[in-house]
């Protein structure tokens, strides 16, 4: 009787372990923080979004934060990246550590970068998300979407963001946008086209009080 019960338990555990799918439903988020020029002053808003996301993400999800500076296609720009453990208690510890790193980064930013390499950041994000094997992939662009490539860097080629949801957050209006609003719309439209041509879904979310819908879609 005990032997057969043991076999039953073993079969159940093997079935559970064998059929379990740990990546298909997990979320992968990569957030790019623009640190160029005056936009670096907006980082407090980014911190609130990161805190919201840390509260929302579940065990098994992946989260990465990187800055957008003059040359963003680099691992050095990654501020923090983690795939949360399956155990909730470990996940909570990881989230605390993550928050700590983000807080110290925000406190360390004094001066904005000279150039803005958004394309490089997106390529880095796409690469990271592919590696995580997450079922739902999000690239969050916390930027004014004004790209300013350093001389010698090549970024004018199609980007591959297939299967990714690219969400532009807090796209602030520049001084020049106020003179001619079409510049703002053209800028946003340009990025929408690039993302959609690269196989991704584009969304714009400027109201940071409506973060509930951030990871939907």
């Amino acid at each position: 009787m005990k032997k057969s019960f043991g076999i039953l338990i073993a079969v159940i555990l093997l079935t559970i372990g064998g059929c379990a799918d740990s990546t298909g439903r997990s979320k992968g988020i990569y957030m790019l923080l623009d640190t160029s020029g005056t936009y670096s002053n907006e980082l407090k808003g980014a911190q609130a979004i990161i805190n919201y996301l840390l509260g929302t993400l579940e065990p098994g999800d992946s989260f990465g934060i990187a800055k957008i500076d003059s040359a963003s296609f680099s691992d050095k720009d990654i501020i923090a990246k983690m795939t949360f453990d399956g155990r909730p208690s470990v996940t909570n510890k990881q989230k605390r550590l993550f928050k700590q790193r983000v807080d110290s980064f925000v406190a360390s930013v004094k001066k904005g970068s000279a150039h803005t390499d958004i394309t490089g950041g997106i390529l880095q994000a796409s690469e990271y998300l592919d590696e995580t094997g997450a079922g739902r992939k999000y690239i969050l662009l916390f930027s004014d979407l004004e790209e300013d490539i350093k001389k010698g860097h090549v970024r004018n080629f199609p980007i591959d963001v297939s299967g990714c949801n690219v969400v532009a957050l807090n796209v602030t209006k520049l001084r020049s946008d106020n003179l001619d609003p079409r510049e703002y719309f053209d800028r946003v439209d340009k990025w929408r086209k690039r993302v959609e041509e690269g196989g991704g879904n584009w969304r714009l979310m400027n109201d940071l009080n409506r973060l509930d819908g951030l990871l939907h879609g």
Partner: protein, 479 residues
């Protein structure tokens, strides 16, 4: 050639064409009337017969179903009655063993008491005082003639003195003997009381047995009704099955509520063991693991109650020899105890994880964490619930058995009612088809009605001619 062109017999004159078509249609309908009527009647009869046959088949199935239901219900009822009677006999046996087993000693004790009382009674019997022997001598002296002598007076005086003293002594003896009798009777009182108590005890036992006997009589008469397959027994069993079905369904719903609470207690901490990010199909692995634990607990509960012979869902367990059954009881109880302890630990872990998550959320929201009041009370409460609920869920086996058994009868009754409903609808359709055929025939006759009218008129004329002709013939013959 289009459809309208076919009917355009006279081009340029649609009215004339229409009228021509109408006339042609009337003629055609008139000529084809008899075969058309036959066709409509045949079709309606065919459909009517089909529906009737289907209704008969359904009714036949319903009849068989009803019979089977009745058999199932009566068998289950007979089995239940047998169990009840068996149980009553066991009770009677227990009463007989407990109370009447000591009846010989009780009888002996009663006999001893009665003998002792009898002896005492005999001893206490009043013995009449012997009359004095000298009374006759007094009578003789009294009859002597007195001739002035004093001696008789003296003798009488002496005798009086003797009589008084003897009377005094006799009274003393009498009082003494009455006193000793009263003492004997006083000694008898506890014996009488004991006899009375013993008889009361016997009376109670006999009364209890009498009550059991009347209950047994009732069960036996019900059992006989079931064996005779009477309508009364069928109705009573159907009503009883419906009541059992409803009550057990309510209890099962309550048990499902308990299982859900149990599930919520262990689902979160299970993610610590099997991981919170993996899925099986559309469900979290931790949720499925928690559900499996609860289901294993339910299964163990079923086996435990089955081994205790409280339920009879698995005949194999009930048929096991007693040694094996006792082993099974201990094994299932041990597994239940281990699972209950695991659940209690998981409930504790759940409280810790929930508190940690709450603290993290507050840190992320950068809010002040409120002071926890009596934080151990919910923890202990959850642990106790985690321990108690698996045992409480064990008893689901009892309503489950009632539900399974009564559902056979109830589902059978509902299916029979549904079949009766289907048969009614089919019979209705058969009648509708029949009258629809008649209606179509009448509808058909609407178009060729002018020719039909003419035909009717001609037939009437012919009939009238046939009626007039014999009169004329009779007149001619008379002439």
């Amino acid at each position: 050639m289009s459809f309208t062109q076919v009917f355009n017999i006279f081009p340029g004159s649609p009215l004339l064409s229409g009228m021509m078509v109408l006339v042609l249609a009337v003629v055609l309908f008139y000529l084809a009337r008899t075969p058309a009527h036959k066709a409509i009647h045949s079709l309606s009869r065919l459909l009517q017969d089909c529906f009737r046959m289907m209704a008969d088949s359904v009714l036949h199935v319903e009849e068989r179903f009803e019979k089977r239901n009745k058999e199932v219900m009566l068998t289950a009822g007979a089995e239940a009655a047998e169990r009840m009677i068996d149980r009553e006999f066991q009770r009677v046996e227990a009463v007989v063993k407990r109370d009447l087993n000591g009846f010989p000693s009780l009888h002996r004790s009663l006999t001893d008491l009665v003998t002792r009382i009898d002896e005492d009674y005999r001893e206490s019997a009043q013995v009449p005082q012997p009359s004095p022997d000298w009374v006759q001598a007094v009578d003789s002296l009294a009859q002597l003639e007195s001739k002035g002598d004093k001696w008789p007076t003296n003798i009488m005086a002496e005798m009086h003195k003797t009589a008084v003293s003897q009377h005094k002594r006799t009274m003393e003896e009498y009082r003494h003997s009455v006193g000793s009798r009263h003492a004997l009777l006083d000694k008898m009182r506890p014996h009488w009381q004991r006899v009375s108590q013993t008889l009361d005890q016997v009376g109670k036992t006999v009364k209890g047995l009498h009550e059991r006997a009347s209950i047994l009589d009732k069960h036996m008469s019900e059992y006989e009704d079931i064996r005779k397959k009477t309508d009364k027994a069928t109705r009573r069993l159907a009503s009883s099955a419906m009541t059992q079905f409803c009550i057990s369904a309510i209890v099962l719903v309550i048990a499902i509520g308990g299982a859900m609470i149990n599930f919520n207690l262990i689902a979160l901490p299970m993610s610590e063991m099997v991981g919170g990010g993996s899925y099986i199909g559309n469900f979290k692995t931790s949720d499925i693991a928690a559900l499996v634990i609860i289901l294993v607990e339910l299964a163990m509960g079923l086996y435990l109650l089955e081994s205790l012979r409280i339920t009879r869902l698995f005949p194999l367990i009930g048929q096991m020899d007693d040694k094996m059954r006792v082993r099974m009881i201990w094994v299932t109880f041990s597994i239940l105890l281990i699972l209950a302890s695991v659940e209690s630990a998981l409930a504790f872990m759940r409280d810790r994880i929930a508190a940690d998550m709450q603290a993290l959320r507050q840190t992320l929201a950068q809010a002040e964490s409120p002071e926890a009041v009596n934080s151990w009370i919910p923890t202990i409460g959850q642990m106790v619930m985690g321990f108690i609920l698996p045992f409480a869920l064990t008893f689901v086996a009892i309503p489950l058995e009632s539900f399974v058994q009564s559902s056979r009868t109830v589902i059978g009754a509902v299916t029979a009612a549904a079949l009766r409903g289907v048969a009614f609808v089919l019979r209705l359709l058969a009648d509708v088809t029949k009258y629809a055929g008649d209606f179509l025939v009448n509808l058909y006759d609407l178009l060729p009605f002018p020719l039909l009218r003419i035909e009717h008129w001609l037939r009437e004329r012919r009939q009238m001619a046939d009626v007039d002709q014999p009169d004329e013939m009779m007149i001619n013959e008379g002439v």
